[in-house]
């Protein structure tokens, strides 16, 4: 929040930085137009368009991670649980509907993985998913509910930091195992495939619209007072509690929002890509999303977007080349590099550089004054000290 102060006597105004600065709006509109119309010039079925839709979903997921980690300091190594649950509900729904219309080669109208496992009809508890509104509601609300329960259990007991990270990791792994095990209902190792997809111009606009809403919403949240509270919890949760903030409640709040966003991203992902598997719920995806955010710039709004696109895009571009084998090593090295050398990520570092330029002169003057004071202190000696060479009495 930018604050200007006029002359001593005048009233001080609070000039809030506009919700979205003008240049960002223009640039953003351009980018969105580019993305949204890509089916036109690249061809609806082109691989690029497919990637763009996917990456947008990942960007929303990364933003969800940024909200809890970059802004509030909660590291969850299992947010993909919510992404995955959202994805699976939608995929199941679409699969059930698809197989009603397109019979499998054995002539039945139930999903193939159910057939392979000996089911003769769709289980009763799954039939509500045939209805799209029900499926969407489940996809969005159930993960949020789970997140709420998790939040109440862990945050109310002040379990955070390393413990929280490790517990969410375990949670993610267990869900993954659960999905693989109960393949009759989830498609197991192969996942849910072959249910058609919504890849195409209209749905791309839907994804774009949702992305914009999420980003604007996130920006509004983080620029409001709540945003500052969350940051204060990240910086010093003890202090925040002693200043009267119920830290647990705030953590639960942002965690649920993050879960909702992740589920939303997952749901759209399932609809767009046409395949989901256990990998979409596991630790690998969760940790990758953290890295997208870290590289792009945590505690920024644009950072996750850039990070996701950059890394996934890079992976795609290098996938055909000799480098592909070493991609994982690159990723691992990126993790380390981001933590050790670029903690602010790309956007963060640029922002800091810009701010430093603006504050340059003032900072320089202050630095010089500090150094002068420091040097003076260093030369200070107690009155009775012996000079070198003198005898000590």
């Amino acid at each position: 929040m930018a604050v200007t102060s006029s002359a001593r006597s005048g009233p001080r105004q609070v000039r809030r930085s506009r919700l979205v600065p003008l240049w960002a709006m223009v640039l953003g509109a351009l980018v969105l137009a580019l993305i949204g119309t890509s089916p036109e010039y690249a061809g609806t079925d082109s691989y690029i368009v497919g990637l763009i839709g996917k990456f947008l979903c990942f960007a929303i997921f990364a933003l969800a991670i940024d909200l809890i980690w970059g802004f509030t300091g909660i590291l969850s190594l299992g947010q993909a649980v919510y992404f995955g649950i959202g994805a699976y509900f939608v995929a199941l729904s679409m699969k059930l509907n698809y197989t009603l219309v397109n019979a499998t080669r054995y002539g039945s109208n139930i999903p193939d993985f159910m057939e392979w496992n000996g089911l003769t009809e769709v289980p009763a508890f799954m039939t509500p998913l045939l209805s799209t509104p029900v499926a969407v509601a489940c996809a969005l609300l159930i993960p949020t509910l789970l997140a709420f329960i998790f939040g109440v259990i862990t945050f109310k007991r002040h379990i955070y930091g390393v413990y929280c990270a490790v517990i969410t990791l375990a949670e993610s792994l267990i869900l993954q195992d659960f999905i693989i095990e109960y393949q009759a209902y989830t498609g197991g190792f192969n996942g849910i495939t072959d249910y058609g997809n919504l890849r195409g111009a209209p749905f791309l606009w839907v994804i774009v619209a949702v992305t914009v809403v999420c980003f604007v919403g996130a920006r509004m949240l983080t620029h409001s007072r709540i945003g500052t509270v969350l940051k204060s919890i990240r910086d010093n949760d003890v202090r925040a509690e002693f200043m009267g903030y119920n830290v647990a409640n705030y953590r639960i709040f942002v965690f649920c929002i993050s879960a909702f966003m992740s589920a939303l991203a997952g749901a759209m992902y399932a609809a767009w890509v046409g395949i989901v598997s256990f990998l979409d719920t596991g630790p690998m995806l969760s940790v990758e999303a953290v890295i997208w955010t870290a590289v792009g710039g945590r505690a920024t709004i644009i950072g996750p977007f850039i990070g996701a696109f950059l890394i996934r895009g890079l992976e795609f571009m290098l996938s055909g080349s000799w480098f592909a084998e070493y991609w994982q090593i690159f990723m691992g090295a990126l993790f380390i590099a981001v933590v050790l050398w670029i903690p602010d990520g790309i956007v963060g570092t640029i922002g800091a550089w810009v701010r430093k330029r603006q504050a340059g002169t003032r900072a320089q003057i202050r630095e010089d004054a500090d150094r002068l004071a420091h040097d003076r202190q260093r030369d200070w000696e107690p009155a009775g000290a012996a000079k070198p060479g003198e005898e000590r009495v």
Binding site: G73, I153, Y163, A170, F178, E325, I329, I336
Partner: protein, 290 residues
Amino acid sequence: MNQLFMQVLNGLGVAGILVIAASGLAIIFGIAGVINMAHGQFIMVGAYVAATVDMFGGSMFLAMPLAFIVVALLGLVVERGVIQWIYDRPLETLLATWGVGIIIEVIVKVIFGTLGQKVSWPDLLDGSIKIFARPPHFPYYRVFHIVLAIAILLVTFYILYRTNFGLKVRAVRRNRAMSGCLGIDTARIDMLIFMYGSGLAGIAGAVIAPIKAATFDMGFTYAVSSYMVIVLGGVGNFLGVPTGGFLIGEGTTLLAFVTNTVIGQMLVFVAIVIAIRVFPRGIFGYQERR
């Protein structure tokens, strides 16, 4: 009934493995406050050391100390290269060590391929105890795991509580700043502790490898189990790891026997989450006084 009893024994064996795997991690976390996300890969490297020794005809009893040394050296490299800069930021250490883990895994994949290596038990451990007339019997290697787990606990206890080095370590854990002022080289202590913990992970890998095989991804589940042992048992007290290991080991085995592996895991996880409501820092952890 016999089946149940055998499962209880098996659970002890699993507990043994968990204790062996988790001890190294617990020491590092208890003293330095960092969690090594590459723990699984450290275990895996230990397993591959055992596989290599096995290839050349050596026995596991040679592989164990070798694995300890190799992985301890690996830990040294990681500690000096990455971790020493970020001790004050435990969450970042998670991410950085995750990256280290990925790199190690890829390197091993490149060297050894993806198929995995079979490691055989030494003759001494091949076979099982006949407790009941009918199979399943209690394999010697499970006994070995339990014995080794106890041995590691005793050795670690001895080092921490009966040696000068251990005294310094405990001082650093109690009050890092003061220990530094008193002339204890805290950086060196951190390094040595990390090496010791890593070495223990190596031993864990060496004695786990023969159960199925040494594969590049075998370590991950053991690592996650180790984290759970620490979360449940706590690192404030020596009894944390054995307690956590015992509860989780027995719990998963018995529940898996009654239902299935995945449900067993889930139930144990839920139980842990409920347990930490009462013991936020683990059963034997430093508790908050509120």
